[in-house]
Structure formats: structure tokens, C-alpha cells
Amino acid sequence: MVDSGNASAPKPSSSVKLVLLGEAAVGKSSLVLRFVNNAFQENKEPTIGAAFLTQKTALPTRTIKFEIWDTAGQERFASLAPMYYRNAQSALVVYDLTKPTSLIKAKHWVAELQRQASPGIVIALVGNKLDLTKGAGGEAAALPAEEEGVEGEGEGEGDGDARKITTQEGRSYAEEEGLLFFETSAKSGVNVQEVFTAIANAIPETQMKTSRQGAGGGAGGGTQAALGSDRVNLTGGKGEAKEGCAC
């Protein structure tokens, strides 16, 4: 849907590595499934089986190809490898609006990213499962802080409000830490596309060219030229970096 074929004059396209973080079952994989396939599964199994997914987002002047890495469960016992963060230009830190512990976990991940990831990484904090909260049909729910207020006491089942974390709480934390902030529903699709578009827009154009090979970690600008040569593509005999044909 995003990728309407403007075949005649392709816009510059670049890859952006995006990593997912958040407590188990907050909806990380569901958000990606919504973004990539525009689909939702009611009882999604814990993630296994995908190295990463890719999806393009078209901006006015360029096309961004997200390369989305799931944790593959390695975060469960705090055993994520540094390779996971390596050269990530963006991160989606997800919590569940109906589960207070999940925001605490999300804060932990933000701190971890600030410690481990490339300094320029764009982080979006996302409160998911907005459909379970009151007044969250399909309208643009997230951004304005107005409809916060009522703390969802009890189970909230009666009026369908299971919200345990106010919009204000998420937002002010995000503002303190300089994160993008959205409330989403992978189930209804509300705000999902918006999160990815906002991330794409927030990544400076200068960061792009290097895509995942050059960015971050290493010794900055100078390395890029050096990196260009001698890189080998193991899957195809002689050749260029595999991003060469990002089609």
C-alpha cells in the first residue's frame, strides 16, 4: 500500500535498521505485522522464525526501506547480543497501555539503548493496545493529551476501559528523554503507519547513505570510504555489498 509504483523516476531509497524492544506480549510483533502486512492475529504466538522483515515507506523526497529486527526472545532473560543494537538507526520501544510493568520495562530498554546503541539512534516510545482503552475506536487517538484524565481503575471491563497508563505519563517520559511518542493499536491499525513514518522522517538524511554497514559504532565519517572496498558478498561469489540492489 505504501509503495505505489512510481516506476519512471525512482526516489532515492535507503535502508534503515529498526530494532524492536519491550516486554513479552506487549505487541511488538503485532505492530510489525500490521505495518508490513496490514494484518492482525488475535492470538499471536511468541515470536519465532523471522530473521527480520522489511517494509518500505515512501516519504515525499525519498523511500525508506525498514529492515525490522525482532528480538527473537533473547531479551527475556536479559541476553540480547550487542549485535542486535549494532548500527540500528531506529528503535521501537513498546509497552502495553493496560499493563503498568510494561512501561517500567520500556524505560529500562530506553536506558539500555542510550548506553549501547549508536548515539544518533531515533527511538519511538509506543503505548500499544489502544483499542482496549476507552474512547479508542478508530479515530486519531494518540497525540492530544486531552482524553487522559480518568485512571482506569479495576479491570475496566464494564465500559471497556482497561487503560492503566495514562497518555500523559507516557508522553512526559518520552519528552524528558527526547523520544517520539505514540499510542497505537496493532489490532485496529490506529497510528501504526504514523509511527513508522515519524521515525522515517526523524532520521537525518545524512545518516541514510551509510545504511547499516557504515553507520554508528565505528569511527565516524572517515570509515565510509574505507568500508566501500573489499567488502564481500558471501552469497554470490564476487561482488558488491548486498544492499547494492535494494529492490
Partner: protein
Amino acid sequence: MDEIAPEYDVVVLGTGLTECVLSGVMSVKGKKVLHIDRNDHYGGEAASVNIESLFKKYGNYTQGTEPWKKYGRVNDWNIDLVPKLLMSNGELTNILVSTDVTRYLEFKQIAGSYVQQGNGPRATVAKVPSDASEALRSPLMGLFEKRRAKKFLEWVGAFKEDDPATYNGLDLNRISMREVYEKFGLEATTRDFIGHSMALYQTDEYINEKGAAKETVQRIRLYVNSMARYGKSPYIYPLYGLGELPQGFARLSAIYGGTYMLNTNIDEISYNGKEVAGIKATMKERSDDPDGMKFETKTKTIIGDPSYFPGKVHVVGHLLKAICILTHPVPNTDNSDSAQLIIPQSQVGRKHDIYIAIVSSAHNVCPKGYYIAIVSTIAEGSANHHLELQPGFDRLGKIEERFMGPAIPLYEPLESGNRDRIFISKSYDATSHFETTTDDVRNIYLRAAGEELVVDGLRGENLVAQE
């Protein structure tokens, strides 16, 4: 979901490369794997560390000083603890490609492969000729010897194991390499660089071994074909260091359902009769629980590195290793940003070769302007180990910083594991590449899974979901 299952098909201890490849392969094959490491990082002895950790590991500084500060950002450094390179046509490369772990890693060529001839002030360092035409240009040989070497390399290049016509009348399954060298009339110095910098033997034992000729020819072919693949050297190397390799395979394992627990001690291994039955372990303090999290789980198979089984392994040798930081390329390597330099044992009056592996900022393992050279060999004496490495240091020019610990014991398991179903890997040996590591992987897989490991087509269909 945050729970540990009551039973796993395989428990893997240690996250070195051997263990991670096995864990990944087992998971892809549908086994339920629990993978534990006592350290809080992946890689064990095959990790890459930053410069501050390196100073601290070797204790190379006076308390209260912070000498690593003059080397730029500590995290720009990823210094390998194990000096190895990948053969671009080798088995590890094959496994990486077959499992799609190449998705997570970027590789670069090592810029050159060099060998030393002679000793002391008269030593020359030259490129290892990798084909017949390079042999003709090599300063390592005189005019007539060049032609003989060319003939030899042409023959090796055309050799096909299943075509006796290519054996050149030599019964390679029976004869020794000496007889082959004699047939081609090759001189001792030529034999030296062929055997040590192409066939990559660490000692001269192969020369007289009956029936070893075919293996030698195949090793040379691996070198030549690896060389032919990308052009500059037969070696490739992952950006950010070798520590990326175990992490890549760990991710593969996790994607197929493997459970990972770092920072976790094994408290007890329980047996049912002679066979392993389970483990008790403690995940060290997680923030919410100062005593750590104790757990136990059953398993009928354990795979682990020697450090987890001090009573089930023995020492087969000692590795000497010095990590050197330089601010210039290694002299006589054409200003290469990376290289392998081999000093064959006989050139310096030893029994084991000395290896120098050099990488640099081109591989994102250090800031611009720095080079990391690791000099290593097998210990031949019990003291003065720095003297054994001296011929290697002599090649490096000015050394900014040198990290060298005591001799490192190399372990091998005492038993095959068939009795207790505990399959123990070997230590990384002194070879300059991973071919022996992948032999160990295949061997352990055969013993533990009861079948040959076939890596071709291992990647699951859904491994890489596309848009």
C-alpha cells in the same frame, strides 16, 4: 513465557563459536535448546572486547591510572581474544551461508597473505604466491624453482579427487608429501611456504606421514580456491570482529526457539545412572532478586566448552599469544590494512609456526590509524614465552601496547560423550583459521545427534520473511 521449560532436548553451556553453531543448527533442526553462559556476554574465549576490558583482563596498568583513555572511545575497539580468520571457501563460510547468518554480518577481505623466509636481519617477507603465474613472479624462489613451483601449482589446481587421471601417477592415498615434493623437485624453502602458508600446517609432521599427501593437496586447493574467490587473500573477516560470529549463530538459534540465558552459573549436573539427566543453575542477580534466580531443568544431552567440565578434559598443549596495538601497518606488507603473516617454524629454528594476524580500522575493530596484530604460536618451552614470540614481534616495528598473559592451556575432552551424553568441545587451537573448529562442530553433531550434519539447505523457508 518467561518460564524455563521443565525439559530441553539439548542444554548448551558456553557461547563460544562451536557451541553457538551447534545451538543454531540444533534449533533449526527442531530441537528445543537451552543455551547458558556464566559470563554476561556472548563468545566466551571467542569474544571481542573493548580496549578498557583488554587492559583490565591483562592487568597491564597501575591501579588508579586509565591508560585506555589515550586510545579514543573505548567502544570503538573490538579486539579479538582468539586470532583467527575465515577461509573464504572454507566450511565456516559454507555454514554461514547455508544458515543465512550472513544476514547479520558484513565481511571484508583480509588484504594480504604473507610468509617470512630466512631469519634475523636477513629475513624477507613476501606475498604467498597463490597460483602458477604468481609463482613465476615471486621473490621467494630462484628462476628454475619458480618453474617447478608453477608446474606443481598447476597440477594441484587441476586435481580432482574422483578422477585418477589427475593424480599424475601418484598414489596419494598411500604416499607421503615428501614423495610428492620430490617428484616435482621442489626445494626445502619452497616446501616450507607451501606446507605452512598454503596447506597451513603448523609443524613439519605432515611431510613424512604416509597417506597424508592427498589431504595436503586438498588443503592447498582450499587455499587456492579461497584466494580465487575475492582476489586479495584467501581470508575474510567480519566487521566488528570475530565476536560477531557466535552472536550471529545465537540469534539463529533464538529465531528457531532457542532460549538464551547469560550470566548464569551451573550449580550442579545430575545423572541418571551414567547418563546426564539435568542441570541446576542460578541466573545471577537480576535487578528484582539479589540472590539470583535458581532453577532446574531436565535434559538428556549437554554440549559444552571445556571450562564447564574441568574434570572431563585434559590439556593437550599451550598456546602463546600476544595482542599488540600498532599505529602503522606491519612493515613489508604493502601498507595493507590487514594481513596474515606466517613465520614457518624451520625459518626460525622452531617446531611450530608463528602466526601474525593483523586487522585495523578498516574492519571496525579500532579507531582510524590503529592496527591490531596478534602474534601466536604453540609453546615449546615452559618459561620465557615472550622469547618464543620474539620473531613475530620483530616483524611489527614499533609496538604501542602489548598484552600477553600466561600460556593458555588447550583442552580436549577425555571421552567422546557417548557414555554420559555430555559432548565437550575442544579449545580453539593455534591454527589461523576456523577449519578445525568446524571439524569439531561436525564431529560433536554426529555424536550428539547421531547423524551427519548436512548444512546445505538448512535455512528454513520462513527464516527471512519478505515484504
